[in-house]
Symmetry: C2
Subunit: 563 residues, 2 copies
């Protein structure tokens, strides 16, 4: 038995409340090393004839990655509390107990401190994203480039729609009116949530350099139009999520301008991280910024007054405009304490508001129930692209990576992971696929039948292309003759399938299948207790005949989704 | 290279802010497997000629336990942010990189998502216990049994001081006046913090069944006396910590009595977890309780009104009586959200108030800076007793256990761990040592020269005995002829030594030494940059000659502390 590989530490992805009654427990062991793992558990205070009452429950492997098997069990602890240890048996019949105290030869009946403990299942600590998110397919809109519906709002120098390539500093006049005009298009596609990149007053076309958090950028419309946009969305059962850029402001944010002007005497000095006066921007700014971008001075979110200001912002747009979610830009560079207060603040206004953090890395510390409901799941993105698009990962590695990401989080976190294949910050899906539509379809098929909530980047559904930004921020193509309508219908069908089939619901089970003698074909099952869907994806060009690991009598074949 | 043994996940004990400038990074590997670990790190946004700027820093092993070496480094990240990976080399010269993406053959220069990341070192998220705690030696008082200073307050049936053994329900009349009378004794001993078990109005002698959180139990005195007690303590530079029993109330807590009386119609129904009406206590209560104790109904700390009530309690005793700390009873069964608000509430009133949770297990989830400053370090207690008192652990196992506990937490957490050798909940130290004073001395020597803040349970310093409670709650022995004065002076000397020697400060380094051919002798070094203290403990009866792993010229021998 390879004891160095065995790992369990209560909380996070190893033991967590799945809901207010259910505890999930996971143990990691070397791949293939153990053949029996039993959870021995009981109420720490329950005794029978002076002996602690302990139950034995078999665990099973639910996934494995390159090095490890993940053993799993769900239990409903008596009176919401439990302590436990594991009985491990390997293939050589070596048997040992594993507890907080380490590896033991016997069950430490009389030493309660030796056990692992999940002290109490408090409902308020359960990680719980809004229920509606699980049924949501997101659509990301970069407002300057989606549709120009009101030419009167065009900023000076606005170019004709799609007349040229997007640049860092050109404008095409996309606006709210334009979005409203296209809501029926989105409804037809089937999405039911829109994530807007920033809409507040700013100087750039991307608006990540906020000037005024309480004002809408005039090129997009006014507050009345935005209110109407939200209403029109809600009328169509489409949720609305805005982008909160709280890590940094824009250079022209009034308080920062006050510091530029009054230096040390500005009353806003402590809203930022100023290293010396006078301020300078070259060769690198002498104040903290996002990256080294002088236009984006970092906000000191620890400062009580600034914090109150930003929390008021967060509150305002929910309270006054009834938005349904906040996406948080550069979320991991802002302090945890700020996000905890942010959550309390916005959930107080609207209990089921959704909070999505932009984090590109492993994100457990933000997903413990006290901060975010989800993060942008770039590890999913990268693994999927590596396999389907870039071809620099084989099937085994792909399955390992996906399983690894899933094993890193609680199941309720995975159920609402924000799974994207591209965004305004990356090259477009089709471009990443070297313009191979088949690969792009495979990726979207995987994304839309996987656990979590998918997001389509505007235009990806009609085969738009574009490299790293600004390339990926082209004007939406509205000329149907230039849209890939076959791709549109493919995505539309998948979204519909996802809505129709219970086994594609994020809370349904996911497992990769192993197809004999098919080292390239991706296959997995999504299932509830009653039904299941098997997805088989052939990433190659040649036709293949596969044998599913089921007898025919088990299966009621339904119409599939042809690629 | 045993890849299954290699572990690192950012935050918690693997990468954390030690202070607002310093990041500590730890990597775990199989014991003895690697001979070189290098941290490769840089600002994620710093490039030079289009290549990311990366620094190479050697890590070193700072401790090991049964299975693992722990490699460590402290760095000060440029602009408070860093991403990193590890270069690992084993004894067979196999070299590999280890990053968030897994094991890699090359540095992933162009794939920032492949790195581990510590996104930003936000000062407010740094775990930081009050500075004074690091210089504190605690003394735990069980008020009913420390000293009877005002006989007028004796509850009916009070027994003569020490006239009989302690029982679950007998009273001896200890009170605040009694404590005040003995403060000079405590000052002489050298302690500078008192932890009082509960003092609020309750029915039992231990007062863990609170009736009124805003009232002092009349057998101890009134608020004036308590105010005087705190003042007298502060005059002697002694801090005062009270016990908050917020997991459950007493049966006679007015709101619970209201539920007993009015059943479902009580407005306090939701302050508790009532499973059915009418309430019954037999055979087990039909409402949730601490353990199965009907006298201790569990409080629903998620309920907003009750939460406000308890936070007001927490605030009141700090604000009105200037207490310095709260010890939180059964802290791990109360929700995290409550404790987060608790921390905000009390630190608002008094910034350097100390928060100590009663948790007997591994406690990382409470020690991330948002909840507690420390927990009662029972894993330290158990390992120490196993080796020094019970003899069921050999030296290697003892060192492994202590190192394992230390490796489980950030260094700033270890520096303020509340290290106890016994309490009102365990048999007394000397009794656990089978009345062998030598073992008790060794344990206290270890405790008082170890990292963290030690606590002496009242009477242990004069050799009192007693088994599991109520045995451990005897009346304090004030008859000097019955006190072990030699032990008293031993403890007194150690406390003084701890105060005098910088290298015994909790922030000083700790490492076990290995003495050749001495499989039983415990030896360790505490050191600052300038000086160090070496402690050598012979747990056996026979004299031994040991050779320290230093040349004589290195050492300036100072007067030691003879056992």
């Amino acid at each position: 038995m390879l004891k160095e590989a065995i790992h369990h530490r209560p909380k996070d992805n190893y033991s967590y409340a799945y809901d207010k009654d259910t505890l999930h427990i996971q143990l990691r062991a070397k791949k293939g090393d153990l053949n029996e793992v039993t959870l021995i558990h009981g109420d720490p205070f329950e005794y029978y004839e002076d002996k602690p009452v302990l139950h034995h429950s078999e665990m099973r492997i639910i996934r494995h990655d390159e090095f490890f098997d993940y053993w799993f069990i769900a239990i409903e602890p008596i009176r919401y509390r439990t302590h436990y240890l594991f009985s491990l048996k390997d293939h050589h019949n070596e048997q040992v107990y594993f507890a907080e105290k380490g590896f033991l030869q016997e069950i430490p009946y009389d030493i309660p401190t030796a056990y692992f403990k999940f002290p109490f299942l408090n409902a308020v600590d359960v990680f719980q994203a809004p229920e509606w998110v699980k049924n949501t397919v997101w659509y990301q809109i970069f407002p300057e480039r989606f549709n120009n519906g009101d030419e009167k709002l065009n900023p000076p120098g606005t170019l004709a729609w799609g007349s040229t390539e997007p640049e860092y500093d050109n404008f095409f006049g996309g606006d709210f009116e334009g979005v409203i005009q296209k809501l029926d298009y989105l409804k037809e596609l089937g999405i039911n949530g829109i994530y807007f990149t920033p809409i507040f007053k700013a100087t750039t076309n991307h608006k990540y350099d906020t000037m005024d958090y309480f004002e809408i950028d005039p090129q997009f419309g006014d507050k009345e139009t935005f209110k109407r946009l939200v209403k029109e969305c809600h009328n169509r059962d489409i949720k609305v999520m805005l982008d909160a850029v709280f890590n940094h402001s824009g250079y022209y944010f009034e308080p920062f301008q006050d510091v530029v002007e009054h230096g040390q005497n500005s009353k806003y000095v402590e809203w930022f991280y100023i290293n010396e006066f006078p301020l300078k921007t070259e060769p690198i700014p002498n104040y903290d910024t996002f990256a080294y971008e002088p236009k984006m001075p970092k906000l000191n979110t620890e400062h009580l007054e600034l914090k109150r200001y930003l929390l008021d912002v967060a509150r305002y747009w929910v309270e006054e405009f009834d938005i349904d979610g906040w996406r948080l830009d550069v979320a991991n560079e802002v302090d945890h304490q700020f996000w905890r207060e942010f959550r309390q603040e916005v959930k107080q206004v609207k209990e089921d508001v959704y909070i999505l953090g932009e984090i590109w890395h492993d994100s457990m510390p933000w997903l413990r129930g006290d901060q975010f409901d989800a993060v942008m799941n770039y590890p999913f993105t990268e693994a999927s692209l590596d396999f389907f698009a870039r071809g620099n990962m084989n099937l085994g590695q792909f399955k390992n990576q996906i399983n690894h990401v899933m094993a890193s989080y609680p199941q309720n976190v995975n159920e609402v992971a924000f799974n994207l294949l591209g965004s305004h910050d990356t090259p477009r899906l089709l471009t990443r696929c070297n313009d191979d539509v088949q690969s792009a379809k495979q990726l979207m098929l995987f994304q839309l039948t996987f656990v979590g909530t998918p997001c389509v980047y505007y235009g990806d559904e009609i085969g738009m292309t574009g490299g790293q930004d600004p390339g990926c921020r082209k004007c939406m193509e509205w000329d149907e003759s230039k849209q890939d309508l076959d791709l549109f219908h493919f995505v539309q069908n998948l979204i519909q399938l996802r809505k129709d089939e219970k086994s594609l619901h994020p809370a349904s089970k996911f497992r990769f299948l192993t197809l004999e003698a098919q080292p390239r074909i991706v296959s997995y099952e999504r299932s509830t207790e009653d039904e299941s869907i098997i997805v088989v994806i052939n990433p190659d060009d040649d036709e293949k005949v596969v044998e599913l690991p089921y007898s025919h009598s088990d299966i009621l074949i339904s119409e599939g989704c042809q690629i």
